[in-house]
């Protein structure tokens, strides 16, 4: 049956559409409205993700990493500023003591933000112990120092807890507080400095769980240029914990009690901290009957070396952190009823994290290796692409190169005459590329690698080949990053040459 649809003219000369019932029109209007809002929300979210500053350190991303943890999987939670996550290393605690812990902190974290972190942590975790680093207890909240807040708040997902926490912190300037709830307001001017990396999907800590292996810790292999001078520590100065921080501390104690977590206070040594501050924290700990570990007074016992165990005036490096973490592990094991997760049958994320750390350390060793024999011994073929390129005169290296060609079943003389080849997972994938075949390009990870007779170009970076000798490029397929490009001179293969 044919049904004629009456045509009506809509206002302002719009298309003629069939007359619809009022209800249908309303539903259609509502649908369009919701769809528009959805589209806007998606675009806004994407724009915000691109514009947001990547807060991740190499190998760790304290905040996003924490939210990626399985619920109720953390037994010991560390909270605080950078002095916290440069002191307690959850992987050492796991490897040595089987403790499942996480460093949930942010650089220069104000005390009020530590409270918000604690509240956020209890939303998804039920830690038995909360260990609070006390560096910021003496500092008033300075909302003008945007970075101190951005480090912690940028990657924290929206929640009512976060909104309430920000509201409490910004009583006098709620407009600025709002900008921490909507990171776009903080970062919108970054559109002027966007690069290709900002548009990449896998920004640090996002989509690469294994790369977030450090569980919040940051313990680089760096040593401070000179021994730290702690002589001012014993110069007593007037010090009082700000009233607001005392209130926040009382709230922290209550929060831990409500969540059946035991609060542990600790302080790692740093230049600038003094005995008056330590005494104030001790008094606070006594008032609430809480344990307090002062690593300054433990320095001798733990054999912490001011010349070797710090990376700067404030932070432990890998070596200092290991000593402190071992002490923390012993202490935690002795005083709290903690599970040894190494003994559990099921896989846990700390095992995966250990693999991640080992993977990174293997790359790190390659990138630091000096002589050619060491270098060859350290190359992790599995999961990596390695490019060998010979240039100019082979000098003392000729025998070595013949062996290398033999190992991969290649024509040694052609290699000696300026050949190149690529190996993936230990298998030669390119055959031998002679000088006539160059420039040679192939897809490697997310970018194209270009090999010419003089250089290798990858991700817009150009690496010069050595004039005479062998250049080796190591690319990590799994983590999709370039590990190292090292040149070995034909007459001095004991020293790797790396371009800046």
């Amino acid at each position: 049956m044919n049904r004629e649809k009456k045509l009506v003219k809509t206002p302002a000369g719009a298309d003629r559409i069939p007359e619809q019932s009022a209800l249908k029109r309303r539903v259609a209007g509502l649908f369009r409205f919701v769809l528009f809002l959805g589209l806007f929300a998606c675009l806004y979210h994407k724009a915000q993700e691109i514009l947001k500053l990547d807060m991740g350190h190499r190998g760790t991303d304290n905040v996003t990493g924490f939210y990626a943890e399985k619920e109720d999987s953390i037994e010991v939670l560390f909270i605080g500023a950078s002095t916290m996550f440069c002191t307690a290393d959850p992987l050492v605690l796991y490897e040595e003591y089987g403790i499942a812990s996480y460093d949930f902190g942010s650089s220069a974290q104000p005390f009020a933000l530590s409270y918000l972190f604690m509240q956020e942590a209890f939303r998804t975790q039920k830690p038995k112990v909360v260990a609070l680093e006390m560096l910021s207890v003496g500092n008033e909240l300075d909302t003008a120092k945007a970075d101190n807040l951005n480090y912690g708040l940028t990657d924290m997902p929206f929640s009512l807890t976060k909104a309430r926490g920000i509201y409490d912190m910004f009583q006098d300037d709620k407009g600025t507080g709002l900008s921490y709830l909507l990171p776009m307001m903080q970062y919108k001017d970054r559109w002027q400095e966007l690069t290709e990396e900002d548009f990449a999907d896998g920004r640090t800590g996002q989509g690469y769980p294994i790369r977030n292996y450090a569980k919040g810790a940051y313990t680089p292999d760096l040593v401070a240029p000179s021994a730290l001078d702690f002589s001012s520590y014993y110069e007593a100065q007037e010090f009082a914990i700000p009233e607001r921080n005392l209130e926040i501390f009382a709230q922290m104690v209550t929060l831990c009690e409500e969540n059946n977590a035991r609060l542990l206070l600790f302080k790692s040594p740093n230049v600038g901290w003094n005995i008056s501050q330590t005494r104030a924290v001790e008094a606070l700990a006594q008032e609430y009957n809480l344990p307090f570990l002062d690593f300054f007074s433990l320095m001798e016992e733990l054999e912490i070396d001011p010349a070797r165990d710090f990376r700067d005036n404030t932070h432990f490096n890998r070596y200092g952190s290991r000593k402190a973490s071992c002490y923390l592990g012993e202490y935690l094991k002795a005083h709290y009823d903690l599970t040894d997760y190494r003994m559990t049958d099921s896989d846990n994320s700390w095992d995966l994290a250990l693999q991640g750390r080992e993977h990174d350390r293997a790359n790190e060793r390659v990138a630091k290796a000096g002589g050619l024999p060491d270098y060859m011994a350290l190359i992790p073929y599995a999961g990596h692409t390695v490019v060998f390129s010979v240039t100019g005169d082979c000098g003392q290296m000729a025998d070595f190169l013949r062996q290398l060609a033999g190992a991969f079943g290649l024509d040694a003389e052609k290699l000696l005459a300026g050949g190149s080849f690529a190996v993936r997972d230990g298998q030669c994938i390119s055959g031998l590329i002679g000088t006539d075949d160059k420039p040679w390009r192939w897809e490697c990870g997310s970018d194209t690698m270009l090999l010419t007779g003089y250089s290798i170009t990858y991700d817009r970076d150009i690496y010069q080949l050595v004039d005479d000798g062998l250049t080796i490029l190591v690319y990590d397929n799994e983590w999709e990053e370039l590990v190292d490009v090292a040149g070995f001179d034909a007459y001095d293969p004991a020293h790797a040459i790396r371009s800046e």
Binding site: A12, F40, L43, K174, G175, T176, S179, M184, M185, Q186
Partner: protein, 495 residues
Amino acid sequence: MLFTSWQFFLMLPCILFLYFIIPGSWRVCYLLAVSCLFYACFHPVYLTVIAAVTALSWYGGLSLERKRKKQEPPGRPFYFYAGICLLFLLVFKYTGFVLDNLHRLSALFSGPSLELPFSLVMPVGISYYTFQVIGYLTDVSRGRIEAERNFLYYALYVSFFPKVISGPIERAEAFLPQIRSCPAQKLWDGGRVRDGLVLMMWGYFQKLVIADRLAILTGEVFGNYAGYGSVELFVAAAAFYVQLYTDFDGYTNIARGLAKVMGFSLAENFRAPFLAGSIREYWSRWHISLSTWLRDYVYIPLGGNRKGTLRRYINLLLTFLVSGFWHGAAWNFVFWGMLHGIFEVAEAVMAPWIRRMNDCLHTRTESFSYRLLRRVKCWLLVCFAYIFFKVPTAADGFRYLKRMVSKWNPWALFDGSLYTLGITEKYMHILFFALLLLAAVDQVREKRHLEPDAWLAQQCIWFRWLAMLGCLLAVIVFGAYGPAYDAENFIYFGF
């Protein structure tokens, strides 16, 4: 609570939601309550001033109508009610100015200090609502409109929150009927709500992406004009004209859009002023609600052009003098107003001469180039006058002008100096595209007599959504707001 404040953005959805769900009979009361709350956010004490002006003018309107119905001349009662309303404006806006000038005079003759012992803060929007109520009293006394008997309706007419702080100066004959029909009106009209929101969005684009960005440049150059050469000073003067337009038109579009969402139509305040070919035409396109108010309630009552050429010129100068005083209690505003008056009189005087010259030279006055030259001339005159609008004193204006003509540095156009005025090169590019968009919208206004929302409503949904999403994101990403910026007030908020 400015339209660009976070408080406004948080409150607006709640205000609108409640407005759409409450019964029709409550709407006027609700809007009045919201308007009072909105006004009180600026300075709660001055709610009493607007309440007094409203009550007095409402009662005055009824009283004048009674007289009119008895066929008695309005005479003294009109001057009494209008005078008292005006007195509020004079006291709050001009006391400081008058005393300051008397103090200077007194200082010349070593007389006593005449400074106010306390600071008198001007109630926001007083210039706008005072003119509005004087217009209302005049219209009632002339019998053009009936006096409003419902005090709530009248109070809402005076204090309607989208327009109370910076206009448009609404005519009672256009706005009161809308309030009267509000309770019975069908409120939810998806198309109208959408159009209102689009107009608001365009207003925010003008304000945050263009005006507030240019404010950085003009603030820098006008604030330190002694350190800049001709090019920078000229660019800043031109930028200030654009800033003023986008700031005020942006505000007006937000106000009109918001009113439209709620089912009200506010008067048009701007019609592509950059396309004006003469000062007279400029004033028919710029701040229309004020210029028509001045025409109807100052210029025409003074005799308009009915009493001979000389009186016409005097009336014009007097009208622009009032305009200058209305804009601000400072000599630079008075000078600015007088400049416009002089320009318009000069145009009128020279018109026959120019016509004769064009006839002699066989000038193609309909050609694009002739129209363009007229527009450029008008642009330059308006920019020149606005220097006095921006600087703190008239003396500064003259010094600025002197520097503009004496420190000639054309190389500044090419050596990147313009990128050191507070706006980065990349933001300059964004501004360039934003100004192109502004020019396109003004062309549509001019040629097709369509507001941006009406024009967009004619487009297909894909284009419409693309434009709306693009504009929204542009405001969010390129807008000058957030913790890195000092929130810029709307310039006309200060008048």
